[in-house]
């Protein structure tokens, strides 16, 4: 699904992120035991965390909205994912919670803040990398 695409996209640019003196941390919201499966699917070997409480998602001012998921593309992808056996149980996280991206410099300055408005609304990598300069 989309979140996986996002991780794959970020992973491809990990060298650029490192070149900018930064480190990448992926934060999901399922239970910790789902991280391993996520790693296998995305081949992502970097830092993966989860926050089932969603407290950090709220603090990052990210959206929580079921309606954001209801677009034809998102639904089609969900149906396909389900048909392949990727059953999305509640342990994988909160289906209504949307994502986003925050870049924080040492000292705490927020260099970049992207609030996803729905599936597929990912932070443009060019903007993320510019925030590292």
């Amino acid at each position: 699904m989309f979140c996986r695409e996002h991780v794959v996209q970020l992973h491809h640019r990990i060298d650029d992120i490192h070149a900018g003196g930064a480190e990448l941390f992926i934060i999901g919201n399922g239970t910790p035991n789902f991280i391993e499966g996520f790693r296998e699917k995305t081949k992502y070997e970097g830092s993966l965390y989860t926050d089932p409480s969603l407290a950090s998602f709220r603090a990052a001012q990210l959206k929580r909205s079921m309606s954001a998921n209801f677009n034809p593309l998102g639904l089609g992808r969900a149906v396909r994912a389900l048909s392949r056996g990727h059953v999305q149980g509640r342990t994988q996280g909160d289906a209504a919670q949307q994502g986003g991206l925050v870049v924080v410099a040492p000292g705490g300055e927020v260099k970049y803040h992207h609030v996803s408005s729905g599936p597929g609304d990912l932070a443009p990598m060019a903007e993320v990398l510019r925030a590292l300069q």
Binding site: V7, G21, E23, N29, I35, R39, D51, A55, Q92, L101
Partner: protein, 39 residues
């Protein structure tokens, strides 16, 4: 938003061990990618 809203919160690694978010940007810039779910 202010990073102080995030710094004292904790996230868990795959073994359930807590990590303080503020520690992630103590020595380098941190790119925090919040993903919708582990789908």
């Amino acid at each position: 938003m202010q990073s102080s809203a995030l710094s004292e919160l904790t996230v868990q690694d795959e073994t359930g061990q807590p990590t303080r978010l503020g520690d992630l940007w103590s020595e380098q810039t941190a790119v925090l990618a919040f993903v919708r779910h582990f789908g």
